[in-house]
């Protein structure tokens, strides 16, 4: 088990190093000059040159790469050019929105999707199955920003159960802060619920056809025991893999959902930073999320090993 996980950790570190090179290369070749973005159309050539020098944009690329890596290793994330404040502080504030939002969306997705999938598999070919499949078809097709707008119109503008958007801040009003994450989490998780429910269903159908399930039924085990003890545990393996992948998608989806719900999260930070060519912010946020996704994948691997003994032994 430990050997399996340490091998996975090593692979993750290699991935991370490669990721820094790719991220750096992409961010640096983005068309557009950060100094020109800051100084605008009336900028003079001498002011542009002075500003580029001030921010070190005129340094050679390798120097800038190692300065950046050096900063990361010593936990100095630098100063945002656009805001003039430290990237660590900017990011810290934003993570307090995006992490709870993603966690909430993922929880919603799992809590809703897995029972739906099990139910559909149990009612295979019957009305219940068709109902779930129809719902998931819609869930996959509906764009989440549109669903978000519909949720706002219904639950915030018409019925006023939830806030229409914005985020008061955890320290300011924790209750309302949580409340303002609920609609966005729903909007964000709709397509993930649909995907996870379908995966759970087909995975359950596969396991329900296995010999050991037939054996369990033959032994006279109750339907509940068969479904949940024998079938579901094995069916969850592919579901776990997909859930791990979805965690990454949730962060990407947050860019749009945060905009619809006016949430000052990491997605918005990345979007604004790309538009402002705030290079240091883009680089550090993307790398941080690479680390996060790698960590989630490691966790998934660990969960795998717990659910299924084979990778522990073979891999």
């Amino acid at each position: 088990m430990i050997e399996f996980l340490s091998r996975r950790l090593f692979a993750a570190l290699i991935t991370l190093v490669l990721a820094t090179i790719v991220v750096f290369a992409i961010v640096e070749v983005l068309p557009g000059d950060p100094a020109l973005v800051m100084l605008g159309t009336e900028a003079r050539p001498d002011t542009l040159a002075a500003l580029r020098h001030e921010y070190g944009f005129d340094q050679p690329l390798p120097v800038r790469y190692f300065q950046w890596i050096g900063g990361l290793l010593t936990f100095h994330l630098g100063i945002s050019h656009a805001y003039g404040t430290s990237v660590a502080r900017l990011l810290g504030d934003r993570l307090l929105v995006t992490l709870p939002l993603s966690a909430l969306a993922l929880t919603l997705a799992l809590v809703i999707a897995v029972p739906l999938g099990v139910f559909a598999a149990w009612k295979h070919g019957k009305a219940g199955d068709w109902g779930v499949m129809g719902f998931t078809q819609i869930g996959i097709s509906v764009p989440n920003f549109w669903f978000g707008i519909v949720l706002v119109l219904l639950f915030a503008v018409t019925w006023q159960i939830f806030p229409a958007g914005g985020f008061p801040g955890w320290s300011h009003d924790p209750g309302r802060s949580l409340l303002s994450l609920i609609l966005p989490a729903f909007a964000l998780s709709l397509s993930e619920i649909a995907i996870l429910a379908r995966v759970t269903r087909s995975s359950m159908l596969d396991t329900l056809r296995e010999d050991y399930v037939r054996t369990a039924r033959a032994k006279g085990a109750s339907e509940r025991t068969v479904l949940f003890r024998h079938a579901l545990r094995n069916a969850l393996i592919p579901v776990t893999t997909i859930a791990g992948l979805i965690a990454g998608f949730l962060v990407a989806g947050a860019v749009i959902i945060e905009s619809v719900f006016r949430l000052p999260g990491v997605g918005q930070l990345v979007y604004d930073s790309i538009n402002n060519r705030d290079l240091i912010v883009i680089k550090n946020v993307v790398i941080l999320f690479t680390i996060l996704v790698l960590a989630v994948n490691l966790l998934v691997d660990a969960a795998y090993a717990l659910l299924d003994p084979r990778p522990r032994i073979r891999a």
Binding site: P31, P34, L36, G40, R44, T47, I149, Q160
Partner: protein, 499 residues
Amino acid sequence: MNALSRRQLFGAAGAAAAAFSFGPEVWAEAKDRLVIGISLEPPVLDPTKNAAAAIRSLTCPNVFESLGRINRNGDIVKGLAESWTISSDGKEYVFKLLKGVKFHDGEMLDASVVKFSLDRLFAADSTAPGKALYTDIDKVEAVDPSTVKVTLKSPNSYMLYNLSLGDAGVMHPKSAATNDKHPIGTGPFAFKERKEGDSITLAKASTYRDPAAIKLNTVIYKVVKDPSAQVSALLAGDIDAFPGFQAPELVERIKKDQRFVVVVGTTEGEVILATNNGKKPFDDLRVRQAMAHAINRKELIDAESGYGTPIGSFFPPHNKAYIDLTGTYPLDIAKAKALLKEAGHPNGFEASLKLPPVGYAQRAGEVIAAQMAKIGIKIAITQLQWPQWLAEVFKGKNYDLTIVAHTEANDLDRYARDDYYWNYHSDAFKAKWKQVIEATDFAMRDELLKDCQRIIAKDAVNGYLYQLAKIGVWKKDLVGMWENAPTPSDYLAVVHWKA
């Protein structure tokens, strides 16, 4: 909309507004608190560090004041200077400063502070985005604690205006370096706190010279980028005012709501089909004339849900030096085709149209492509991010056509610049513009400005489309908001809730 009808609108609102108010935040709302929605977030909060108009709207003159102030009609009135004189040769400006002016941190304003503030704009190592506005200044002297003398190298009839812009906001040597994060000025409102990506809060400045005149205690700027989120924020009662509403197609939805007024005013933004005059076939006047004959301004304004005023040159219709030149090349497809044929393009040609990511350009782009297709010009549209547009189109001049609004005031001088992205070179215009700059008589200057408009209209340098409208949306019982945008500024000192 004139002042009278606006008053009537406000009057009609009264009690109705309160009755229609709902939403969790509205009940607790005090009458000295205002929540303003903005679609573009200011990056730093210092106009001498970044060119973004959003910085100027928010901080100038609410936080930072300049020597003069541009009022709601676009006129220059007194700011930190209570009076000034300009020498007859137009080269010496003497400003008398208001006495007893304090910065928000308690520091006093005097002539040496003004000198420091102006010197850093045009200094050799200045990185101010507006440096070019002040490079005609030779020196700034503090004659005595309340007198500042500004001497120019050569006369510049726009210098008083430039010194009244937010770009020349007066800053104190002690706080200048940190104004990007925590702006400290002399204005009626002091910076209180900022949550990046979310909001900026200003509070009435206790150090202000006339605190009793300020009715609002707290002003919160909320960033709402998405147009449909802007509407839901207004309808849900989270936002009181959206001075620069960006989605004309959604205005009708707000008009239906009795709590709000929609106020349509003017801006300094000329929307043009910018044309690369240095590139074939656009270097041929006949080609540009043909395109001008093919432009249907009504269709373009319809695409903006009817908001906008047609222009035939590069000058705002509300300015008193404006002349209507929309008839220079009237809509005439046959004539346009004939001109193209004469220029050697009987079957038209292909051209690229590079669009920046702004709503009006996106909407106008489709319409222009359809209009040009009628005379055989096949337009291929490319979408660019803003930084890309700046680098590729504006700086790199690597484009055929683009659509953009030039929102600065007094920006006709662009046509006199050799290295500008239009690649337009006209000795006649340059000579005329030199006279404008050196004019000391403003009535004469207006006549010269009319000549300038005629030259560039005739040369069909760019496709002149329409003047952007300013769509303001706010609660009916809010008084004093600017209906027009002569300069990017939300002047809040006079804004208050109707009692």
